[in-house]
């Protein structure tokens, strides 16, 4: 760098008037097969990047990102599950001595020690040796943590009923319901509304009645004799009303 007297500037600015040549460094005398980053290595990096991007886009096309139904804070039957990379922390909170009165252990002390240890690794593992086998404690603790993360994630995934999970969040189709019709009044009076809901879209205990694709006779049959977790004899009215009710339900179609 030029210093002292004799410096020339561009105009009244502080930019030196003397141009520096824009040429790459010479790497030929560097040890081994050292390469210049620009442009030699960057071109290869871009090739790796393109292959990666193709895989990434295939994943995106094959599995569109999920969207469940709109958040309903009143639906207390919903069982939440965090994103997969938080599952190990979530699973930890299910064990007796890491939850309830010991919540602070599972929610704070164990993760705090693990992540704190990770952050301070260079100040704990201070020796000059770098090979994994020459620093058994560092390698051992990391292997142990990895095993714990994999085990906890596995346990968490294993405990989930994925079919039920998909069903509980599915977007429910809604129908325009005439709440003044005879059918809806019968629906209300017989207590169907308690489980199937005021929009007939179901709930935690019962499926949706919108767009069932069933005939009125089939619906009448279910109303009298039950189906699945619905016990028989839920409908207590007369046969004439049952016809009205089942016709009302069978005509419900999503908008």
């Amino acid at each position: 760098m030029h210093r002292g007297k004799g410096m020339k500037f561009v105009g009244d600015s502080r930019i030196p008037a003397e141009r520096k040549p824009n040429i790459p460094k010479d790497y030929s005398e560097y040890p081994g097969k050292t390469e210049a980053f620009w442009p030699n290595f960057l071109l290869k990096e871009w090739m790796v990047g393109s292959v990666f991007l193709v895989g990434y886009l295939c994943l995106t096309i094959a599995h569109p990102s999920p969207l469940e139904r709109v958040a309903d804070p009143t639906d207390t039957g919903y069982l939440p599950l965090p994103d997969w990379y938080f599952l190990f922390l979530y699973q930890l909170l299910k064990y007796t001595y890491a939850s309830g009165p010991y919540n602070v252990i599972g929610g704070f002390i164990i993760p705090g020690l693990a992540f704190g240890g990770l952050m301070l690794a260079p100040f704990i593992d201070r020796g000059p040796k770098r090979r994994p086998l020459e620093r058994p404690f560092a390698t051992g603790f990391m292997m142990l943590s990895l095993a714990a993360i994999i085990f906890l994630t596995w346990e968490s995934v294993d405990a989930v009923d994925w079919k039920a999970k998909e069903a509980q969040g599915a977007i429910v189709e809604e129908a325009a319901i005439d709440t003044n019709s005879d059918g809806f009044k019968i629906y209300q009076e017989n207590g169907c509304i308690n489980c199937h809901g005021d929009t007939l879209s179901g709930g935690a205990a019962a499926p949706s009645l919108v767009g069932t694709g069933l005939t009125p006779e089939e619906i009448a049959e279910i109303a009298k004799n039950g189906k699945g977790s619905m016990p028989p004899g839920m409908y207590k009215g007369n046969d004439e009303d049952l016809v009205k009710l089942s016709e009302f339900i069978s005509t419900l179609e999503a908008e």
């Binding site: 561009v10 600015s13 930019i15 141009r19 520096k20 824009n22 790459p24 460094k25 040890p31 081994g32 097969k33 390469e35 210049a36 980053f37 030699n40 790796v48 990047g49 990666f52 990434y56 886009l57 995106t60 096309i61 599995h63 569109p64 990102s65 999920p66 969207l67 469940e68 139904r69 958040a71 309903d72 804070p73 639906d75 919903y78 069982l79 599950l81 965090p82 994103d83 997969w84 990379y85 938080f86 979530y90 602070v104 929610g107 704070f108 992540f115 990770l118 690794a121 260079p122 201070r126 020796g127 000059p128 770098r130 090979r131 994994p132 620093r135 560092a138 990391m142 990895l146 969040g169």
Partner: protein, 224 residues
């Protein structure tokens, strides 16, 4: 033509030293997969950065449609997913990118750890890297709430309860995140949006800048 433009700018701003600083650095043989295939483990850091760039770009496009308000958030995401041209691809890239960035960052962390590359004089860069890891987890956590679907709301409630179990400052942390001592609602959504889109990305860019400057200053760690 391009050279003339370059020279014109260079004469006024002296950009050559800056440009040579960015472009000129060596790639030693032991990190170059073209010479030793096992050196592909050195790609994980770069791929993390690559996915981060995709996250920033796709996120910018998502905010063109997304509305951070409890009445419209879900509707806007539904519209984006089902009506907007390529909306499903952009949202899909942002969704899967969130997972990929965690995977790549995790592999990068393991590479650095098992090679002992964090040892003197690179301790500070390791600490900054772990901070980047935390920021990424924070981005994942706050981004989860934004579509305002069932999963978003209830997973966030769990997350906020965990945050509330922090000793001493638990309650304050919960109110800071949720905007209310009891309700996870409108305030929470706008707060998470602000944290996800402004606060954490700002922290991330600063930390990544520090990460890269330190690598450039110290050079990559030598072969084992």
């Amino acid at each position: 033509m391009l050279n003339k433009i370059y020279d014109w700018v260079d004469e006024r701003l002296d950009i050559t030293p800056m440009w040579r600083d960015i472009a000129d650095h060596e790639v030693p043989e032991h990190v170059n997969p073209a010479h030793h295939f096992s050196a592909f483990v050195y790609c994980f850091g770069g791929l993390t950065f690559f996915v981060t760039v995709i996250q920033i770009l796709s996120g910018m496009f998502l905010t063109m449609y997304y509305v951070p308000d409890i009445k419209n958030a879900w509707e806007s995401v539904y519209y984006l997913q089902n009506e907007v041209a390529f909306g499903v691809i952009v949202r899909g890239m942002h969704h899967w990118g969130a997972s990929l960035v965690i995977v790549m960052m995790f592999l990068h962390t393991l590479r650095v750890f098992f090679q002992g590359a964090y040892k003197k004089p690179r301790e500070l860069n390791w600490v900054v890297g772990v901070l980047i890891f935390f920021v990424m987890l924070g981005l994942g956590f706050t981004g989860y709430l934004l579509p305002w679907d069932m999963k978003a709301l209830f997973a966030t409630k769990v997350g906020i309860e965990i945050a509330a179990s922090t000793p001493l400052i638990g309650h304050e942390l919960k109110v800071l995140l949720a905007g209310h001592p009891d309700i996870v609602g409108a305030q929470t959504l706008t707060r998470f949006f602000a944290i996800h889109v402004f606060f954490l990305p700002a922290a991330l860019l600063g930390l990544m800048g520090a990460h890269f400057i330190m690598i450039r200053k110290q050079g990559i760690s030598g072969p084992l």
